[in-house]
């Protein structure tokens, strides 16, 4: 009796074991190491000194003056806020650009849709570094955009449009890098949408805008939420775009982590920044999971009623 009750559970566990090992080994263990390192002391030559210290987290908001007093300094806080701000901006712009693309693809004949999806994902298969460099050629001094202005003598006294090394350039880079992962989930939910509902809405006196607002958007919402989270999370941790397009002057959380490990050799601080980044990501996912559960509870209630 007991054995027979246990066997399926055991079998399930055995079946899940490879996944559990992979997740444990390649995700939980590294995160645990990182969490541990963030509470150790920095070794000036790289690596850590095995002594507990909350210094890395203190360093976020405070600086020690000569008398060893903690003085508030906002530098890192600004980096966090800038990261959040740019990630939110890039996500919103991705949504604005990505939604019409997804809608367009979803309205194509079935045989053309796959071709469009293929075209959308092609850049995704190319090295991100190379693609980001391409934007330097486009946005940079004497770049594709600037040259015509120069020839027409439209440049001002500083002789440049100043597109590069700005928040603008970073956001452009982020949008370009992550637009496919916005388009795909939205497309997935729009593709399931029954476009007869759009006709039904028009039949019931809705203008195109009202139909969009009351039928298409609500039904595409799961895709919009998933796409936004999928774009927001990597944007928050991006370091290639701020590094190459922001000129390394405008740091974001990702670039700060990279800088601490590679250049400043302050591993505990780098780890602490990574933990803070992770916290934002987890908060995001929790919010998403809760939203999904709410939606699930609703449909669950439907199923039971």
């Amino acid at each position: 009796m007991i054995a027979s009750a246990r066997t399926p559970a055991l079998r399930r566990l055995l079946g899940l074991l490879p996944a559990l090992v992979v997740i444990g080994l390649f995700m939980l263990v590294p995160v645990a190491i990182m969490a541990l390192y963030s509470f150790l002391e920095a070794n000036p030559f790289g690596g850590v000194v095995w002594r507990f210290s909350p210094e890395a987290y203190v360093q976020f908001l405070f600086e020690r003056d000569l008398a060893d007093n903690l003085v508030f300094q906002s530098g890192y806080l600004i980096i966090i806020l800038r990261s959040l701000g740019l990630a939110v901006l890039a996500t919103i712009l991705c949504l604005i650009v990505g939604f019409p693309i997804a809608y367009f693809i979803a309205r194509q004949p079935a045989r053309l849709r796959n071709i469009w999806i293929y075209l959308i994902t092609i850049p995704f298969w190319t090295n991100q570094l190379v693609r980001t460099f391409a934007w330097i050629i486009i946005l940079g001094r004497n770049g594709t955009i600037e040259l015509p202005f120069r020839w027409l003598g439209l440049l001002g006294a500083d002789d440049t449009l100043g597109l590069m090394y700005s928040d603008f350039a970073i956001v452009i880079g982020l949008i370009y890098a992550f637009i496919p992962i916005m388009v795909l989930p939205i497309y997935a939910s729009l593709e399931k949408l029954d476009f007869r509902l759009v006709e039904a809405s028009a039949d019931l006196y809705s203008s195109t805008f009202e139909t969009f607002r009351r039928v298409i958007i609500p039904l595409a919402k799961p895709g919009i939420v998933a796409g936004s989270i999928l774009v927001f999370i990597p944007c928050l941790g991006a370091f290639i775009q701020p590094d190459l397009l922001g000129g390394g002057k405008k740091l974001m959380l990702g670039s700060l982590v990279q800088f601490q490990f590679a250049t400043a050799r302050n591993w505990p601080f780098g780890a602490a920044v990574a933990m803070i980044l992770l916290t934002f990501v987890v908060l995001c996912l929790l919010w998403y999971a809760q939203a999904a559960r709410r939606a699930g509870a609703q449909s669950g209630a439907l199923a039971h009623a």
Binding site: D194, R196, L197, E199, A200, S201, A202, D203, L204, Y205, S206, S207, E210, R214, V215, P218, L219, S299, L302, A305
Partner: protein, 379 residues
């Protein structure tokens, strides 16, 4: 025959005030899909007038253009040529959301993210009706379709029949001038479909709204409609009351599409006093009312409904034949009777109270055809 047909129409008409307002006037409508030589002509010069407060059915096989015509009335398709007017107003250029016409879609197209009440309220809300009035309308509509108890459910929680009712309530809630129904019963099972027929008809009477109903199901058309337009290959074949369509089909297509029919190809030998003497290919002779324009020597098709033939024991009267096959359908029995023609005559016998059929395969019988049962089709 034309004369009699008119008498017949008058006699059968339930209300003598036939001259009602025209709800929808379709004049010379042509609809092509695509361009150039690849264009598909869905409607070839369709003209019809649907009267106010009428239950009007577009009946035809799939691909006959009936759904295209409905979509043109709804505003989902533009006409290639011709004019469409709604109570005298030309609506050819008016988009769907500005026509006082609502549709019950074939697969209901209820909004899955809204409750039943929200679905029904959608139309009146877009029309900017006051909140209180909308609430009253929703309550009244749900009561009308007996769905009051389900107001807070979502479409996914409803059965097909219930969704059907909600779709009706939703389309009626804005109180349109015309309600379009696109094969709304096709997804329901037989019993429900039969029950809904009576309800739809009753609903149309209760609301006083003009219904335009699209179906390929002749029983649906016959049982509910005030008038039917039979369509085939983008053309209207005949418009008439169910009885006119069934009893006096305009051509062979209408005769064979609605109900069962026997056709006998014959030639007119002579006409005396409106009665034609015809001779079939195999030499059988019939006397029947001549179709208008029929001349001696014309090839015509004689048309006979299976249930208008009576089977009797072999005798002098009637047409001699032999039962080839029998199809027992419970309520009725279909006999294929060999009368020496190319194809056997189909005769329907009713299952009588003496317990089934008195005839069996191989029996020699005599077929008695009623005086007015045999009709001449020119086309």
């Amino acid at each position: 025959m034309l004369h009699r047909q008119r008498d017949f129409a008058e006699a059968m008409s339930p209300d003598p005030t036939m001259e009602r307002k025209t709800a929808i006037d379709v004049a010379g409508v042509v609809k092509r899909f695509g361009h150039g030589p690849a264009a598909v002509v869905a409607l070839k010069d369709v003209s019809l007038a649907i009267r106010d407060n009428e239950f009007f059915t577009l009946l035809g096989p799939s691909g006959c253009g009936k759904t295209t015509l409905l979509r043109i009335l709804a505003g989902f398709e533009a006409v290639s040529e011709g004019a469409v007017s709604l109570y005298g107003e030309n609506i050819a250029g008016l988009p769907a959301n500005r026509r006082s016409v609502n549709t019950v879609f074939q697969h209901y197209a209820l909004f899955p993210h809204m409750t039943v009440a929200e679905n029904v309220a959608y139309g009146p809300q877009r029309l900017g009706r006051p909140v209180k009035e909308i609430a009253e309308t929703v309550a009244r509509m749900l009561q009308l379709v007996k769905m009051e108890k389900f107001a807070e459910r979502r479409p996914a929680q409803l059965s097909g029949g219930q969704q059907q009712r909600v779709a009706l309530a939703r389309a009626l809630a804005p109180h349109p001038k015309v309600l379009l129904l696109d094969e709304p019963l096709s997804a329901l099972d037989l019993k429900l479909r039969q029950a809904m027929r009576a309800e739809l008809k009753q609903l149309q009477r209760a609301t006083g709204i003009t219904f335009v109903f699209v179906t390929h199901d002749q029983e649906e058309a016959l049982s509910m409609s005030d008038r039917i337009a039979v369509m085939s290959e983008g053309e209207v074949q005949q418009i008439g009351t169910p009885t006119e369509i069934y009893e006096y089909p305009a051509n062979r297509f209408v005769a064979s599409f609605i109900g069962d029919a026997n056709f006998i190809v014959a030639q007119i030998d002579g006409i005396t006093g409106g009665m034609a003497k015809c001779r079939s290919v195999r030499g059988l002779s019939f006397t029947l009312a001549a179709a208008p324009g029929g001349k001696p020597g014309d090839k015509v098709t004689l048309f006979l409904r299976p249930e208008k033939v009576r089977i009797e024991a072999p005798g002098d009267a009637g047409l001699a034949g032999m039962i080839q096959t029998m199809e027992y359908l419970g309520q009725s029995i279909f006999y294929q009777v060999d009368i020496g023609e190319d194809s056997p005559l189909i005769v329907a016998g009713r299952n009588r109270d003496d317990g089934g059929t008195p005839y069996k395969t191989g029996d020699r019988v005599s077929l008695v055809i009623g005086a007015d049962a045999l009709r001449m089709l020119v086309a």
